[in-house]
Symmetry: C2
Subunit: 329 residues, 2 copies
C-alpha cells in the first residue's frame, strides 16, 4: 500500500510529458483526447506502477450530478417518506437520484458503493445494513448516513433516539404500567437506534423495574416477527406496556395482543416509533414517537452537498423528536 | 416538419465524408473522435439543415442502463410498494433506477422525459399526471405506463379496475346497503382507474339506485379531502355504503364518519382499493380490493425491456384483482 501511495498523479504526468490536468482526464475518461495522449499516460502509469487512488481521482473528477440512496426498501412508511423527501431536496439542488433498495442483499449495496468509487455517482446517502463492506473504509468519501454507524469519517443524521426512548418509557410508567417490555432490531446492527433501548433500560431501572428486551433479526419476515411477539406474550403474560422501536412492529404487537385477549389500551399500552405520514393516516390511534423525517432528509442532503464540495461537516447531527398521542397509550 | 424529415443521417454522413456509424457517434457524443471529424459532421448538419430526430438517433444509441420511474411520490403505500418492486425487477435485469417523484410538478416530469429524449435513460415507467406534455407524442419511445393513458403507442399495465369496481359495489349491495356513494380522482386525469367508477355506476343502476360520485382533485391535500368527505356526509346523511377508489381515502372517510357518529361497519360500510402491504399491516380491518402490485411491476418491467429491445408488446395488460375481507364491509 505505502509503495503505491508514493507514486502520485503528477509523477505520471511528468513521465508522460503531459499536464496533470490531462493525466487526470485520461484517468477519468473525460473529454476528447487523442489516442496518442491516452497511450502515453497509460504507459507511464504502468512503468511507475501507478494505481489510481479513488481519493486522488476525486480531486480531479467531473461531477455526474447523480446521488445514490441505499436504504432497505421504499416499501415502508418511514423509508418511503424519507426517500420522497430526500429526492425532493436533491432535485432542488440539481441532483438526480439513483434508487438502490438493498434489503437482504449486501451485494447490491456493494454494487452502489462501487459506483461511488468509480465516480459514477457524486455521493451516497445510506441507511442500509452495511456490515463488513470494505469500501466504506476509504476516508473522506462523500457519504452521509441516516441512523447507521458506518465509520468515524461518515457523518450520521438521526432523530434523538435517546430522548425518544425516555419519552416513550416514561409515558408508560406515568400511565401506571408495571411490566414494560421493549422490542428492537439486532444489536449487531451498528445503529444509534439502539439508543432507544438504552434509554428504555435506563428509565425502567431508575423506576426499580427489570428491563426485558426482545430482538428482531435483520432478516426477520413479518411471519418471523409475529412468532417472536407471540413468544413474548407467552413468556410474559403479565406484560402491561410495550415500547416498540418502530410503528410496524407496534401494529403487529397490537394484532397479536388481540389473539391473547389483551385489550389495548385497557390491559396493554403500546407505543411505537417513527410516526410517518401514512402511518398516522392509516392508524391514527397509534401513540408513537414521531421522527422529524422531513427535517432529517433536509439536513442529510445539506450535509452531503457539503461533503461533495469538500466543505467541513458535523460528524453527528441529532434532531429532536415529538410525542404523538393516539389512543393506544 | 416534412422538410426536416427528408434529410437523413446518411445524407449528413455522405456530405461529411464519414460513415453513418461515425456520424451517429458524433451526434450521440459517444467514443473518442477527432476534432476534425466532429467539425466535418457539424458543418454537414448545418449545411443540410439537419435536425437530429430522436427516433433516428435511438436506432444508433448506446444503452445507458438507466430507467426512469415517474410517479407522484413514494410516500404512499401503493406507490412505495410499486416502486420497490419495479426497482427489484429492474435491478435483476441490469438496469439502474432513476427516481423521479413528480407530484404537482409537471416541470419535473418534463425534465425526466427530456432525459429520455436525450438518451440519458433507456426507458421510462410512468404513472404520474402527464397532461399536455408534448414529448409524450413521439411514437415508439420506450415508455410503459401504469394506470395512465399516455397515448395510443404507450402500453398500459393496470389492475382490472372494472372487475374491482363491480366486486366492491356488489359486496356493498349484498350487505344490504341502499345508499352507496363512490369517491374517485378527477375525470380529467386520463386513467383506467375511472373504470372503477364506471363499474360502480353500472352496478348501482342495475340495482335501481342512483350513482353519486364525489371527486377529489389532483392537487387535493389531505385537508382538502377531509373537507370534501365532510361535505359528503352533510349532503348525504343517508349514506350507508362507500366505495373509495383508494385505501388512504377510505381511511379518511372512516375517520370523518366517526365525527358524524356513524359506526363502521354497523351504520356505514366502507371498501377501499389498493391493498398495499403496509396498509394491510397498519389497518388490517379495512376491507379492500387488492391490486396485484408485485405482478403489475413484473409485467411493466418485462414490457419495458421488450420496448427497449424493439420487440412487439401488447398495448394494454390488465391483471385480475382479489377481494380482501377486513371488518369495515
Amino acid at each position: 500500500m505505502s509503495e503505491k501511495k508514493r507514486v502520485k498523479l503528477e509523477d505520471v504526468a511528468k513521465e508522460a510529458g503531459v499536464s496533470k490536468t490531462t493525466a487526470s482526464r485520461v484517468l477519468n475518461h473525460r473529454g476528447y483526447l487523442s489516442k496518442e495522449t491516452i497511450d502515453k499516460v497509460h504507459i507511464a502509469m504502468e512503468k511507475l506502477n501507478y494505481h489510481p487512488n479513488s481519493i486522488a481521482r476525486q480531486l480531479y473528477k467531473q461531477e455526474t450530478n447523480f446521488v445514490g440512496l441505499i436504504f432497505p426498501t421504499v416499501n415502508n412508511p418511514f423509508f418511503g417518506q424519507l426517500t420522497a423527501e430526500l429526492e425532493k431536496n436533491l432535485y432542488k439542488k440539481g441532483y438526480k437520484v439513483l434508487l438502490g433498495d438493498s434489503e437482504n442483499d449486501p451485494a447490491k449495496e456493494e454494487f452502489y458503493l462501487q459506483q461511488l468509487l468509480e465516480h459514477q455517482v457524486d455521493g451516497l446517502i445510506v441507511g442500509a445494513h452495511n456490515q463488513g463492506l470494505p469500501e466504506y473504509h476509504h476516508p473522506n468519501l462523500p457519504i452521509v448516513s441516516i441512523d447507521r454507524t458506518v465509520n468515524k469519517d461518515v457523518p450520521i443524521v438521526s432523530s434523538d433516539n435517546y430522548q425518544g426512548g425516555i419519552m416513550a418509557t416514561q409515558r408508560l410508567i406515568d400511565l401506571g404500567c408495571q411490566h414494560i417490555i421493549h422490542t428492537n432490531g439486532p444489536t449487531s446492527l451498528a445503529s444509534p437506534t439502539q439508543n432507544r433501548r438504552l434509554a428504555y433500560e435506563h428509565t425502567v431501572k431508575a423506576n426499580h423495574m427489570d428491563p426485558i428486551v426482545y430482538y428482531t433479526k435483520f432478516s426477520s419476515s413479518i411471519q418471523d416477527k409475529m412468532l417472536l411477539f407471540q413468544r413474548l406474550f407467552k413468556e410474559h403474560p403479565e406484560v402491561d406496556g410495550i415500547f416498540a422501536s418502530n410503528d410496524i412492529d407496534a401494529s403487529l404487537i397490537i394484532k397479536i395482543a388481540h389473539q391473547f385477549n389483551k385489550k389495548v389500551p385497557k390491559d396493554l399500552k403500546v407505543i411505537g416509533y417513527d410516526g410517518a405520514d401514512s402511518t398516522r393516516l392509516l392508524f391514527p390511534q397509534l401513540t408513537t414517537i414521531r421522527q422529524p423525517i422531513n427535517e432529517i432528509a433536509r439536513v442529510a442532503v445539506n450535509t452531503l452537498e457539503a461533503r461533495i464540495k469538500n466543505q467541513p461537516t458535523s460528524k453527528s447531527l441529532t434532531i429532536p423528536v415529538t410525542f404523538y398521542k393516539g389512543t393506544t397509550a
